[in-house]
Amino acid sequence: MWRNSQKWKNRASRRPQRKGEALIDKLWIFRGLDRGRMTKKTLLMHELIGLKVKVVKSSHPGLIGIEGYVIDETKNTLTILGTKVWAIPKIVAEFEFEVGDKKIRIKGEELVGRPEMRLKKR
């Protein structure tokens, strides 16, 4: 049976369809991680995965107000996990990250680049 083979994913209905969807009710995993000394300056080079984020501004009105934790990052998108899983292009939006009790606002254009390449930039 295809459902039992390891080669394919089980895509039957009510099963997680996208990456990270299995975590939807388990947001507590991301809470209470030590984030080192992250400031606005180092955020650009630092890890975004695991941070709480909110989309503040966007050229696409549907994206505004999305809130959740970042679970994945590619060159041009952030995958955000809230009540749903969203993949948001970095270029169109402005994000507000929550680091500890600080809030850092940043434009998505500055974040463009693969996660390991951002370390090297500048």
């Binding site: 975590l23 991680l33 994945d72 390449m117």
Partner: protein, 120 residues
């Protein structure tokens, strides 16, 4: 001269950040593993990329927690087998149960030190 110095300082800062990132990613992988294995593997992948780009050493804590061949996150007892062996030289054997890769870590040096301490 001063320019060179500041550049070196910047480099050091970069390496520090890279180490922090690796620690964060592996911690997350550990937490996520129970629910989503593939996401944990993805975090390991990013951590490895960061480590290679910044040219830092993998922290000792996390060195044996991923497979060197298939880069999957390993949890002893779940998808990894850990054994101590004595033949030829004492070593730890870790087998990745995802791909079957075997990793060996000798601990001859530690044993010799202990022997030396005993003698004194």
């Amino acid at each position: 001269m001063s320019k060179k110095f500041s550049r070196r300082k910047e480099q050091r800062e970069k390496k520090k950040i890279a180490l922090e990132r690796i620690d964060i990613l592996f911690n997350l992988a550990e937490r996520v593993f129970a629910y989503d294995k593939e996401l944990a593997n993805r975090y390991v992948e990013i951590a490895l990329a960061v480590q290679q780009k910044a040219k830092v050493r993998m922290p000792r804590k996390w060195k044996r927690r991923y497979c060197k061949k298939c880069h999957s996150f390993l949890v002893p007892g779940v998808n990894a087998r850990v054994r101590l062996r004595q033949k030829r030289m004492p070593h730890v054997v870790i087998k990745c149960l995802e791909c079957g890769h075997i990793m060996r870590y000798p601990y001859l040096r530690e044993k010799k030190e202990r022997r030396k301490a005993k003698k004194q």
